[in-house]
Each structure stands twice: as C-alpha cells, then as structure tokens.
Symmetry: C2
Subunit: 248 residues, 2 copies
C-alpha cells in the first residue's frame, strides 16, 4: 500500500488535478479503494480532495512540497528521528523534511518540545498530546506560513538546544548549503546561533542545485541526512567541508 501511495503522489504531483476514477483504473483497483487511499493521503496533509478529484495543494504550501519525493523525505525524517530521545527539546526549521520529522516525532516519541518558526509545523502536530510547540515570533510569510525577520532572532536568543534541524535548497562546493529565500536563510542563522549542532535534512536531488542565498553558518558543527542517491562527487565535496553524511 505504501507502494501505491507513492505512485499516487507522483501522478498527482505531475498533473495537479486528477480524477479519482482515472487513478483507480491506472493503478488497477476499485474506486472505493482509491478513495480510501486518497482520504488517507489527505489526512496526512499531502493532497486535497474535491468531489471526484484529487488535487495538489498550493506548491508554495508545505503540504504541496511534501508530496514531492515523499518516500525519500519520509526515510530521511525517520532516520533523523533516531537522534531525538524522549523528553528532548529540539529546534526545527520550516523545510518540508523538517515538517515530516515533526510528524514522525509526534507519532513515535513522548514528551517532546519542538521550537520552530513554522506555523505549519505547529498546526501539523497539533493533534499529538506528546509534543508541545513553541512558535518563534516574526513576520508571517503568507505562502509558507513561516516566521521570518528580526523578531525571530530576538525569540531564538531565549533558547539554547542541542540540535537544530533545517532543510536546504542546494549545495555549492566551497560555499556550503544554500537557500532560495533570503528571509528564511536569515531565520536559519538566527536559530543556529542557539543550537550546538545543526542537522541538515535534504533529498539527494538538491545536491545538483544551487539556491541563490548561501546559508553561511561558519564554525558550526554540521551534519546532513540524505537519501542513497547522492553522487560520490558531492559526498566528497561534503567531506572536504567537514560535513558528516548519513544515508537514510
């Protein structure tokens, strides 16, 4: 079933809006079964339903980004969750892998505190009594539901944690991780100043890409968790920069 789920996600991600009947036929199951699958995916926040259709959420929305490469992201999130013991307090930034990590933690751990600048993550784990969320203040980015700006720094200074989990939009040899959004990159820096270690969660695909904004976290102990498809070229590049790599 997990297999079928990811096929569905791939099709929906491609086409944005698909008929339920079409999906049922294409995957060789009844429409009833397909509806069940789709309902489950909607529960997870990965797609939206309409009468007769399954649609992708606004791709600026974290929900939409989650659906893309869901399997890899889930593996990465699961692996990252092993770093977090029951009762811990961690910081989590707004990337889609990070949201998934929060979800996994909410489902498997006990008595966690998650400090984040993502209102999406806070509401994403709202149903779990096991995690308590602290939301960092800031300017609310409409599309992404992420807090940015100077207030994030002011808030983050109030905390200090072992680990900060962040996403990334690219990697440039000799420069480091990059981000596509300047405000969010700055928020990451603010949060990183209050954590002793930064763990980057990102699909291997990102290593071919280059976001415009270097993350610049000099002197920070960094590690990355990614999937198995990362080319040797980039593994070596990461090693040269002193970033330890974990394959999920």
């Amino acid at each position: 079933m997990a297999k079928r789920d990811s096929t569905i996600l791939q099709i929906v991600t491609d086409q944005k809006r698909v008929e339920v009947a079409y999906l049922a036929e294409r995957l060789g199951v009844s429409t009833v079964t397909m509806r069940k699958d789709l309902d489950a995916l909607q529960e997870k926040g990965l797609i939206l339903r309409e009468h007769g259709y399954a649609m992708l959420a606004n791709p600026n929305d974290v929900g939409g980004r989650l659906a893309y490469h869901y399997d890899e992201k889930l593996l990465i999130a699961r692996r990252a969750s092993e770093l977090v013991p029951d009762g811990a307090t961690i910081m989590v930034e707004s990337g889609s892998c990070c949201a998934l990590l929060a979800r996994v933690l909410a489902d498997t751990k006990k008595n966690l505190t998650i400090i984040t600048n993502s209102a999406f993550i806070a509401s994403y784990v709202r149903d779990s009594a096991q995690v308590s969320c602290t939301l960092l203040g800031g300017t609310y980015q409409r599309d992404s539901q992420v807090m940015v700006g100077p207030l994030v720094r002011t808030c983050a200074q109030e905390f200090y944690v072992d680990r900060l989990f962040i996403g990334a939009d690219g990697w440039i040899d000799g420069v480091g991780f990059t981000n596509a959004d300047q405000m969010r990159a700055d928020a990451v820096r603010s949060m990183a100043a209050s954590a002793s270690e930064v763990v980057v969660l990102t699909e291997s695909e990102k290593f071919g890409q280059r976001g415009a904004i270097p993350m610049r976290l000099p002197g920070k102990q960094m590690s990355v968790i990614t999937d198995g498809n990362i080319p040797d070229e980039w593994r070596q590049s990461l090693a040269r920069s002193g970033v330890s790599v974990t394959i999920a």
Copy 2:
C-alpha cells in the same frame, strides 16, 4: 440570506452535527440551496462539512466559537473596523470577535499590519494581500492556536501601537474585565503594555458572566464595543469604571 445563515448557525451550534436534508426541510428550501449556504459558511470558517452533514468545529477552536452569536460578533467587528484607517498597524488578541475584526479588515482595508498572538488569525487572513501579519512568539496552545507565556512579553516589547483589540470572557463590577484562561490573560497584559489604548470587543451576553481571571490593566485607557442588548445595570457599572461604551 443573511437571515437564513444565522438560523443555520444557531441550529448547528445547538446540535453539533445536522443532516443537510433536515436543514433544507426546516428552512423550507431545496437541498441544493442549503448546500450552497453551507459551503459559503464553511468558506468563512464557521462550520465544517461532511458528506451529508454540517458540523460545528471543535468549540475550543476559534472557528467553533465564531459560529456562536455570529451576527452580534460581526456587527461588533464592523464597528471596530471603523477605528482603523488604511495603512495602520494594530495589535489584535485571540478572541473570536478579534478574529472577525481581522477578517473584516482584510476584506475592506488596504495595507494594514496586524500584530497578533493568534496563529488562527494569521492563517484566517492569509488570503488577503492587504494585510501583513506579525505573529508574536510563545508557547503554542494546542486547542486555541494561541501563543502564550513569557516569550509573548519579550516579543510584544518590540512594538508600540495606538490600539490593541482584545476579547473578554466576563465583567465584574469594581474588578474589571475577566478572562477564563490565565495564560491568555497574561498574554493580554503583555500586549497591552505596548499599546496606548485597549479596545474590548465582546457580546453583551458576557456581561452577566465572570471569568475566573481578572484582566487587570490598571491605568490603561479602555473602551468597549458591544451589542445593543447590554443591560443598563452594566452600562452604569462600566461608566463608573471610566470605560466608554460603544454600541455596534
């Protein structure tokens, strides 16, 4: 149609979960029309739909509280919106009237900045390009999606505005406005310290009630906007305390 809407809300608020067909018959319209009405109400975030049913959102959820006495609250919100000019920056707390005020402002004003401790409000006006939201940081209350705790104070100190709009859960003669939730009451105090005037938005019904936590905003210039059903007894009580009253 606004008339029918409020009847629907009343029924749904009472019964929590009603069949569409029942509502259609009771109000003497076709099921098609009823579905249209219900869809519109869902758009506004007042109810939830299920196949064949209309339900009230979790009453701890702001959405659920909104449905109760919607008409009065909307009148109050509209009246309050007259105090806010285009381009202004205001603070808004997490009450249901406040959420409605934010909605009205988003629909009618231009280029506003709303500073709030309610993640619900931030997402409630997310579709409007005319308001930019600043969300104060804090501990995320699961049910209400409101930020509370010491971080709210830290954040609020970064701002100073003309007006803060708040809700209230009760009024006690000689004591003042009260709240049912200690954490939220404290958040209100934090925000009030950064505003020169506090405007309380509350249905007249609340004046018979007494929340357990006195708001205690000594020396603050206060006014209240409420609906026409407020008894003379309480009007005099408010006047004695130097609180000016506006009837919406």
